[in-house]
Amino acid sequence: MAAGTAYEPVIGLEIHVELSTKSKMFCGCEARFGGIPNTRTCPVCSAQPGALPVINREAIRHIARIALALDCRIAPGSIFHRKNYFYPDLPKGYQISQYDMPFAVEGHLDVTMDGEQHRVGIERVHQEEDTGKNIHAGESGRIAGAIYSLIDFNRCGIPLVEIVTKPDIHSPQVARSFLNKLKNTLQYLDVSDCNMEEGSLRCDANVSVRPAGSDLLGVKTELKNMNSFKHLEKGLAKEIERQIGLLEAGRPVVQQTVHYEVASGEVHPMRSKEYAHDYRYFPEPDLSPLEISQDFVDDVRTGMPELPSVRAARYVTELNLPEYDAEVLTSNRDTSDFFDETLNYFDDQKMLSNWVMGDLGAYLNASGKKLSIETVSPGQADQLCWLSPAGFGEFLAMIKDGEIAAASGKAVLPEMCETGKTAREIVEEKGLAQISDTARIEALIDRVIEANPEQREQYKSGKKQVLGYFVGQVMKESGGRANPRTVNEILREKL
């Protein structure tokens, strides 16, 4: 290709989602992240001779929710296949997965970016199981150079749903935005905690580039190991850059796996032969085909929670919030649930929205903590914020009623989040209660006017904007606690 050609990236994503079911996909073991290694295992998930899998119905309910939320067609009969390969974290020597008859096909998810809507097609949604985890002992923590390796089978057999998109994505930004929307949707569905660091949400990408305007697909590579939204975007950009670089140098793109190096942000192609697997898929003889009745689908549909787009629309029409607010508030389920719950205690929607998006949002971003509408226990305090909807409602009401100055509120809120104390307790402890006592305010004002004769003259001669200066001085004198409305009124009189 000649230099200067414009290229269009073509991206498809493969997302693995660990379901938050009570038990594992094919046995009764607890399906939760962590735990003392190998304590959440049994004959089935440790592949003892003679053990057999049994399908977890709760997982099927979860995947059905996902399929419906993505507008997919659920197959009335899907089949589990065995994917055969040897690896120490795969105790059976095969993973039970789905192959040519997946659970659901042909859906889509729309993402909006810079006001433009992008429809991303969903090729398939299928059910499988997770593997165990290898821990390599040695300096690098990688298999090369390890002195020995340990295996933890606690994760082995946790239900995993694979979502494959069509190659409908044409920029790293849209890819990131899609994954964000998907994660948010999954959280609304209550099917996964979608924690990329803990690996309950994983994303690989198929990437190719082609001259802009062409209908043909270029040779694609499979980009792996992007463990955050930021890295997904970065990795894709790097890989696109690499492929364009190759084409412009007149060299071909080779179909291969490309590894994203988190530390350096670089992409490294793997030798293609090393990863040429023949998985010898064949129907899992230990399980009958999975039959899904229309009744079941209807039942799941009835029990579906409100999805973010529906909730956002409700905020606009029922709560009269601006679209921007609705979008921001619903982009995270915990926050949105918290907002909804707080409305029971405080009814100024716009003021609530402002505080949630503003000061509370800033606190959450800075602390990395999450909101919960449940009562938070001390054990959860490093992940969850102590703030309760009732407490937050009380706090906002105090501001609205003039009991605390908005400025003081900015200091009160983080402390409520950190300590779990009520706004009233903090205000009392710190003496932050707003001064509305006219006599005290008058005394303050007199002092300030006396100290600034020059400004007073200016005001008198018609420079009304000097009023702001006086208000500021009075507020400063009062330690921010004077009621600004009262200060304004009295100042005007006195000046």
Binding site: G50, N84, F86, P88, D278, R280, F282, P285
Partner: protein, 484 residues
Amino acid sequence: MSLIKLTAIEALELMKRGEISADELTRAYLEQMDRREGDLHAYLEISRERALDDAARPGADGGPPLAGLPTGIKDVFCTRGIVTTCASKMLEHYDPVYTATCVQQLIDAGIVILGKTNMDEFAMGSSTENSAFGPTRNPWDLQRVPGGSSGGSAAAVAGGEAIWALGSDTGGSIRQPAALCGVVGFKPTYGSVSRYGMIAFASSFDQAGPITRTVNDAALMMQYLTGKDPLDSTSVEHPHGFSIPVDQDLAGAKIGVITKLVREGTDPDVESAFETAVEAMSAAGAQIGEATLQHLDYALPAYYILAPAEASSNLARFDGVRYGFRAAGAEGITQMYEETRSQGFGDEVKRRIMLGTFALSSGYYEAYYGQAQKVRSLIFQDFERAFAEFDFLISPTTPTPAFELGEKADDPLSMYLSDICTIPVSLAGVPAISIPCGVTLQGLPVGLQIIGPAFSGKRVLQAARSAEIAIGFDKVSPLIEEDV
């Protein structure tokens, strides 16, 4: 009275009447083992202490329904507390963490476990010569094989080392050794007995079943083996259940002889024993006809693609990582896998893993696995058509009587042919029983196979009981005869 010649039902009756005790009965079998096990090698592990403890358990005599019955368990079933090897070096010292559902059901019903019986490694074979721990011999002639893969179970029952035994059948592994040892072996409809805890060879074929001295004993054991197990998704509640057959003739039974399995490659002695049995059944009122199964010729090749394909995947878990044998001195994981599996598996197992791996490989899958699945459906349809016409189908259980040790060991294809009569039934998943129907000129037993439609096990056992009466086979192996 010789305790080691009793049927299970007779023994239960005697225990109930207080004429014998479970302890006496168990000791009689342990003593026979002391005398004969050196020649026979029917067991891989004898759980003597546990057996005596179990037999002495309060209520053993006449308590639970099967209380005190000395039982051999094929070593393919996991038994917590008794080493379970599947006759493989791979699991030489494997102590299972759980007990197979069907074995637990028998334990709950009161049986006394004498030990774990010998078998072909991972149930792959037709002579028990593929055991990693040495072959079992045929109680009728110690120079000959007992059949396989449940050869230990069949030899134990025929040789007075168990009153009955549990076996497993994939392509004939209950019926063929039962036939070669002159005892009864019943393979239930696929799904009748839980496979949980039965070490998998070919998941869509494997089925546990009884090896006994009489049809009624087989029916008795089936009453406690069958049932839907929540741990095995392919198990079902048997729609008709099982009951002890009544003594009656075969009046009105329409029986089709699968002629193709009689005339081609069948030993003349086997053929004549079979013909005599057919005449006896006819005399007992059965209407005999000729049945044709159109795709029979493809059964053996299809089986030897499908079963090894499943096996190649089922046996992947034996990788030296979590339990069982691990080769020493390997550098790195790939070499550890290779060395462990090369040293841990015997030749026949490796042969089938390679066959199966090939059949599932990309580019070959449709031509082998795909085609074989089609053949399987065609054979299933063949049986359905035949059962529209006949109540039961019959054939010899095996084309020849017991062969000599080593005779076919180096010729896998001729070994595979010894299951030619039983494999089509396994492909269709329908129930079948082998009962002794005569002996050859050399005095070796011959088996008659009676096959019924899916879930007709109860009727198959009734027909087998009627045939048993009509045929009147009354010989026992010289090991029991001499030891009386």
